[in-house]
Symmetry: C2
Subunit: 325 residues, 2 copies
């Protein structure tokens, strides 16, 4: 099933061995309340319990521990305003090497503090992609640090695939797996892992309708960009990469679009029914099941809850909007 991609079940298994001890083997939990409501059997793979609160730790650790001694000595660099920044800072600290993190100066304080928590002082830049790249290029020229992309990197994708590997080790007989799609790192790793282990399994991506670039990319055959950047699922605002797009196009069964109200309702259902703290991006797969209840009825479904870095004010707004029951 997995054709000739550089990411294979073997590279994912190698990643799992490489990062063991550096990442959490996260729990898989069920909720009778959710299952009764939806007529399904859902297994939540809780990457909200992963280090830095997101699956990003897997890919970052694999990338950092893949480096040769010489490469490692020169350090790593990323530009990110999100979980990848903290995940890379943490991975570098584990290996005892330098990490350079370029962040837009308007990044959330909690994200900046997370990077600082791993001993890295971010380098701030203007919040546009040219400034970010220029700042990163300057560091690379000065230090020779290895650039680690948040998703368009084979080592990162293989690392992200280890979540599905663990999920399917624990619950092998799933009918389907659903993960959120942003840049497609988690989705690509999941597709290769799941389809290699079980060619009959369905793998769906869940995507906000307000960031439907992956959905449109499958239709047009080229990598499309998001047209708006304001979905509450802020981890999913990016477009696919040149490495992830071919894997997604070849292997994904379908991309399911979800609206903002559904994402909000799913975030609250995750919390108050399943008792799982999910950021909106991590609740998008459950939203897909809630929206397509008939279709998934009677199925055993694995969901990767991608992260749990939920902002208190976002949660407060969602509760106030009255979707909590």
């Amino acid at each position: 099933m997995t054709r000739d991609f550089a990411i294979t079940l073997t590279t994912i298994r190698d990643a799992a061995k490489r990062i063991r001890g550096h990442v959490v083997r996260t729990p898989v939990v069920q909720s009778l309340v959710v299952d009764k409501t939806l007529g399904t059997e859902i297994f939540f793979k809780c990457e909200n319990q992963q280090h830095v609160g997101a699956f990003k730790s897997r890919g970052a650790c694999n990338a950092v521990f893949c480096l040769t001694e010489d490469e490692a000595a020169a350090g790593v660099i990323a530009h990110s305003s999100g979980n990848h920044a903290a995940a890379l800072a943490r991975a570098a600290q584990l290996r005892g090497i330098a990490a350079h993190i370029v962040m837009p100066h308007d990044s959330a304080t909690v994200k900046i503090d997370a990077v600082r928590g791993y001993g890295v002082e971010p380098r701030f830049c203007e919040p546009d992609s040219d400034s970010r790249q220029a700042a990163a290029d300057k560091v690379i020229a000065a230090t020779g640090a290895t650039f680690i992309h948040p998703f368009n990197d084979e080592r990162v994708i293989a690392g992200q695939g280890t979540a599905a590997l663990e999920l399917l080790e624990e619950v092998p007989d799933l009918d389907a797996v659903i993960v959120p799609v942003g840049g497609g790192g988690l989705l690509s790793g999941t597709l290769v892992a799941a389809k290699s282990l079980n060619p009959n399994i369905k793998v769906f991506a869940a995507e906000p309708a307000w960031a439907d670039d992956a959905f449109r990319s499958l239709q047009s055959g080229i990598i499309e960009s998001p047209v708006r950047h304001d979905t509450i699922a802020d981890g999913l605002r990016t477009c696919l990469g040149t490495l992830t797009f071919p894997i997604v196009r070849e292997l994904v069964d379908e991309i399911l679009l979800i609206n903002e109200e559904e994402i909000g309702a799913a975030t609250l259902a995750m919390m108050f029914q399943a008792k799982v703290v999910a950021e909106p991006s991590g609740a998008v797969p459950l939203a897909a099941v809630m929206r397509n209840k008939e279709r998934f009825s009677g199925q055993r479904i694995g969901i990767v809850v991608s992260g749990g870095n939920l902002d208190p004010s976002t949660l407060q707004r969602l509760i106030a909007s009255g979707d909590s029951n």
Copy 2:
């Protein structure tokens, strides 16, 4: 260590065998963020992921599956406005016997619905203890149903002890275990399990200062009643029972009192730092560590997160009060 109580490590191990398959072996999770902040290593036993969202499922299942065939045929009865009601209804449904649940008519809709979700129509009574008992006595006289107390019952206490048993199987080398105390069922079961497995382990109870009856009971030597009933930790408003008090008095290392603000802050820390959905009662043990940071510094601590039935409006109020960071 466990003297001559009717609840022993053996009865707890028997309970664990009896309820296996009927309850969730809940995950144990850690949070680097919490550990870094507090200078501890905390292991959260996630009973928020238990059926009906609370450890109460353990005791209720053990009690119901302890019944003889004859006893079972006559059904079970409880009066409760809380998690025990749903837990008993569920356990009875599993065994295929009748459950009679007496609830005050002003019980929370969500609790009433939970009981109905297990196929039991509650019998409503006035919200005072005489009315509750009278309603229960009437049912018992008519049906011969077995009354299952939420905590003052050896079968229930042994069932609650299985949470600590699992925790210590997974993390044997703990310095201390902290659980919340209300009626003392969870505390008594935890005390017997933990002290039997490791006589050197410390077991602390955490109790709201606004429901400090257990604390005062240890001082006076008799079972004291709460003087107020408005702590946010609504699962802990009851006094100890005649079975739980002697166990607590004999074995507990100390009861740590916590104020309301600390409980609120701990509920938010559970959610936004540890990513664990805890009701305020379930956050009281973390509050105890936060309050006594120096004392617990450097220790490996097990915490039983007793439940996750957090009310959205309570959470909203806590976030608004600004304790989220």
